[in-house]
């Protein structure tokens, strides 16, 4: 970093007050802060080199010491921070609990100026968890989030899970979500569609037709759930490129016709449009290979050190999206 005096001179120059600095003057200004020129061989004597090596050695030792110190303290700080957040989130979880009552959730989101039309979440599948509980837990989490979204009035929920294991359990997942919706809403539950890109949609497995026509007028609404995996990310872009290449090779398309709009339409129709809000439930702020094209303007919500899916996180994300302040308690 440059000293205060030099900064002053630089700013005066940038503002073009008085006569601007010449190249030479600028160099003079910065000379003390520049790294030393690359050492030329043979200009230093052996003795000098030896002394330099010794001082270099001690310098490195000092650096290692400071590095160890920094990380010891940082590890301590992180531990404290995790505890603090764990306690804080517990308090939030007690203050904001949905009691499986749609009315409560509706009341929670009533004051918000806007709600996402398309909500997306990233969930993690842990196959290491004993037995097959990893999968059961994943389905459980999706069912909960789907129920909250239906209560809040969000029509489209997309769930990203890297491995895509759920795509082979679509009927099971549909049943689990429908059951959860029933637990929240009773018999007049919203209609539910579950689908994944390039797979047939699974609509209302168990709901009878008359209740569906009922929902058209004043019913509890409709929820679509979309399952995504790493395949729908970069691979989809690669597939599109392959198709376009084939067309171009058969002279059915000129490469100049490939525009942002064309790609956008194709990607939107084959997977999905841009989500409005993306909630990360894990502790790390990483996208894990989430579809790149669609995440352009999506608001990314995360809270530090969180582990697990909780209603309070969901609600805080909606508040943040609606640019509203959260009051403590209801």
């Amino acid at each position: 970093m440059v000293g205060v005096r030099e900064t002053e001179i630089y700013r005066r120059d940038a503002r073009r007050e008085g006569s601007p600095l010449t190249a030479k003057q600028r160099e003079e200004l910065l000379r003390p802060y520049l790294p030393s020129p690359p050492p030329q061989a043979n200009t230093v004597s052996r003795k000098q080199r030896g002394a330099r090596a010794v001082s270099e050695f001690f310098r490195i030792q000092l650096y290692v010491l400071v590095y160890t110190l920094i990380h010891t303290f940082f590890g301590l700080y992180m531990r404290l921070r995790q505890w603090y957040h764990a306690v804080l989130y517990r308090i939030f979880a007690v203050l904001y609990y949905h009691h499986r009552t749609p009315q409560l959730i509706q009341k929670d989101v009533k004051g918000l100026s806007r709600l996402p039309e398309h909500l997306s979440v990233i969930l993690e599948y842990n196959p290491e968890e004993k037995g097959g509980e990893g999968l059961e837990q994943l389905i459980e989490e999706i069912a909960e989030i789907a129920a909250w979204s239906a209560c809040a009035g969000i029509p489209l929920l997309s769930v990203y899970e890297k491995t895509g294991i759920l795509k082979s359990y679509i009927p099971t997942t549909h049943r689990a979500i429908a059951k959860r919706l029933q637990a929240y809403f009773g018999t007049r539950r919203p209609s539910l569609q579950l689908r994944a890109p390039h797979l047939p949609a699974f609509l209302n497995g168990d709901l009878v037709d008359e209740s569906h026509s009922d929902s058209n007028q004043d019913g509890p609404g409709h929820l679509s759930v979309l399952l995504l995996s790493a395949e729908d990310g970069r691979s989809t872009m690669v597939d599109l490129t392959k198709t376009l290449t084939e067309m171009s090779q058969r002279s059915k398309l000129s490469p100049n016709d490939i525009s942002v709009d064309l790609v956008d339409v194709e990607i939107r129709e084959s997977t999905m449009a841009e989500p409005d809000l993306l909630i990360l439930f894990g502790p790390d702020v990483e996208l894990q290979g989430y579809p790149p094209w669609q995440i352009r303007l999506t608001e990314i919500f995360h809270v530090p050190d969180n582990t697990g899916v909780e209603y309070q996180i969901f609600l805080r994300a909606l508040y943040r999206f609606g640019k509203a302040q959260m009051r403590f308690g209801r």
Partner: protein, 372 residues
């Protein structure tokens, strides 16, 4: 009043030579210490908040951008000294052309002035060994700005130590689309067939000559007919030779000739060989290490059409609340340390996994839920 005195005192104190020397030493020490751990190879910055900074301080927007440039210089220095190989900055979005003409012009002027000033210090730049590359839609720029950019890029093109990617009129969707288009163009070029040392016409003639020989020795009735055919064939062979030996000859086998023509037409690289690495190689950031860290200031938690493709599996996103002109070592340091901490934890987890690899049959055992 007292706060003003205090800030004046602080200013005086910080600008006094001993204090400045101590701070300088402290910075060197911290950066040197950080170098002992893992360092992100590729860092991207979204320099957000210059305008809001100017608005809150009630200074001109352009002045805010100037201060933002100073922050950039500070950060580049830290990154360079700590050993980051590639830095990508979002300097100007294609969407930014929608801003007021005054602001756009001022930004363009700033880029031009800074880059041409840079070009005056070639020898100093070499000490940093950094190479400047401009990523983006060049045709949206005015020629004078373009010239300054090309100059700076050309001057530093020999440097190998580090790379500074300046995204100037850039959006990530435009980058991805360009990469797709370039890939399509690449794969639509007919493959250069390998030139074998044998000529098809020559072989054809050879076969015909042999045929002729056989026929003439076996029966004399058909002799006349065959000579005429050979004559026609020879004439045709001559023309096809002249054309480059690929044209069809219907005397020998019309069907195979037709097929041959088709095959020649489709001698392209197989589209199935396109992978995400192929697209990677056609991005503006081709050849750079994968993005390890993306920093966005001013509390906005969005990518805003920046590095969409590159923010892949393990890119750590850091959304900071401070405005870009306030960004410096002391705000960047916690981000770097946290990244190192995560990296070390990841390393540990990997080691545990390696030492406790479960038996194979357990790993592939199917989950209890069955798809129906």
């Amino acid at each position: 009043m007292s706060s003003m005195h205090l800030s004046q005192f602080r200013r005086w104190f910080l600008s006094s030579p001993p204090a400045e020397w101590i701070i300088q030493q402290l910075r060197e020490l911290l950066i040197g210490a950080l170098r002992q751990g893992p360092i992100p190879q590729h860092v991207a910055f979204v320099m957000d908040g210059n305008r809001r900074f100017a608005r809150t301080r009630q200074i001109e927007t352009v002045e805010g951008h100037n201060l933002g440039f100073e922050a950039l210089a500070r950060v580049l220095e830290v990154c360079y000294k700590s050993g980051v190989k590639v830095i990508t900055i979002y300097a100007f979005s294609i969407e930014n052309f929608k801003r007021s003409k005054y602001e756009v012009d001022a930004l363009m002027e700033m880029a031009k002035v800074k880059l041409s000033q840079l070009a005056q210090h070639g020898e100093l730049l070499d000490r940093y060994g950094a190479r400047i590359r401009i990523l983006g839609q060049r045709d949206l720029l005015k020629p004078d700005v373009l010239e300054a950019m090309d100059n700076a890029a050309k001057m530093t093109s020999g440097n190998r130590h580090a790379i500074l990617n300046v995204c100037f009129p850039y959006t990530s969707r435009d980058e991805i689309t360009t990469a797709i288009r370039e890939t399509v163009i690449d794969y639509s070029k007919p493959l250069q067939a390998y030139q074998r040392p044998f000529s098809e016409t020559h072989i054809r003639q050879n076969i015909r000559a042999r045929h002729l020989h056989d026929q003439s020795s076996s029966s004399k009735d058909h002799h006349h007919h065959h000579t005429s055919e050979v004559a026609a064939g020879a004439a045709e062979a001559q023309t096809s030779d002249a054309e480059g030996s690929t044209s069809s000859s219907n005397t020998l086998n019309p069907d195979s000739a037709h097929e041959q023509g088709l095959r020649d037409e489709t001698a392209y690289a197989d589209p199935e060989t396109i992978t995400s690495e192929t697209l990677d190689d056609h991005m503006f950031t081709a050849g750079n290490p994968p993005l390890d860290l993306l920093v966005r200031t001013s509390g906005v938690e969005r990518l805003s059409d920046f590095m969409l493709w590159q923010c892949h599996e393990n890119t750590h996103l850091a959304f900071l609340d401070c405005l870009w002109p306030e960004f410096d070592l002391w705000t960047f340091l916690p981000v770097l340390i946290e990244w190192q901490w995560k990296q070390k934890r990841l390393e540990q987890r990997k080691q545990i996994k390696v030492s406790h690899t479960p038996p194979a049959h357990q790993a592939v055992s199917s989950p209890p839920l069955k798809a129906r």
